[in-house]
């Protein structure tokens, strides 16, 4: 079975902390994504990466950064967590030519910033 694994299902952090959300895929996919899911807003793209060390901003990158040092791992970093970053975070991966296949998602990390 293909698999995208997020390191935590639930996380509680304090305001101002630096937070790392980790995602690993075992499908040798080129593309990896971080989405944020909020009620009534659906999923919104934060950052994506199409190759090792390559990254591009999505629709809501403010307050976030990412790292992709290895093909299988894509990390989302909250430099200084704030309460408005309390949300569900979903990682996904897909191969090149993704329209002909599908994106595969992790099970999400529900982050609460207090």
């Amino acid at each position: 079975d293909v698999k995208v694994t997020q390191s935590s299902r639930y996380l509680v952090k304090r305001t101002g902390e630096k937070v790392f959300l980790e995602c690993v895929q075992d499908m040798d996919h080129e593309n990896m994504f971080w989405y944020r899911q909020d009620p009534g807003l659906g999923l919104r793209l934060i950052y994506f990466s199409y190759d090792v060390k390559m990254k591009e901003k999505g629709d809501i990158p403010e307050g976030y950064s990412v790292s992709r040092e290895k093909k299988e791992r894509f990390s989302l970093i909250l430099e200084s967590a704030s309460t408005n970053q309390t949300s569900m975070y979903l990682c996904a991966s897909s191969p090149l030519g993704a329209g002909d296949t599908e994106a595969f998602f992790g099970q999400g990390t529900r982050l609460t910033v207090v």
């Binding site: 080129e30 593309n31 994504f33 989405y35 009534g40 807003l41 659906g42 999923l43 919104r44 793209l45 994506f48 199409y50 591009e56 999505g58 569900m88 979903l90 996904a92 897909s94 191969p95 090149l96 030519g97 993704a98 329209g99 599908e102 994106a103 998602f105 099970q107 999400g108």
Partner: protein
Amino acid sequence: AQTVTQSQPEMSVQEAETVTLSCTYDTSENNYYLFWYKQPPSRQMILVIRQEAYKQQNATENRFSVNFQKAAKSFSLKISDSQLGDTAMYFCAFMKGGAGGTSYGKLTFGQGTILTVHP
């Protein structure tokens, strides 16, 4: 930029009945893909069905089918013979096509529709 709109925040249906979830989108692209994803309470997103914009024939996957109206930019999902396991949040999503993977597989999602199937 693309937008995807799901105007039904919640829907409910009786087991074995048929339900249709609505989705409209806006784009100036001619080459694109449309998807329906399902997110059950386990939170695992699962692809339900996909449609290539250049194909006129509506996609079907077992009990799931779409009504793709390209001119109207409409992409509805019909679930026949609804089952309790269909209870989930359903997301409509858009992906721009592109040669050589230039779309990078970025998805634009709608707001989601919570579907509840009642016994």
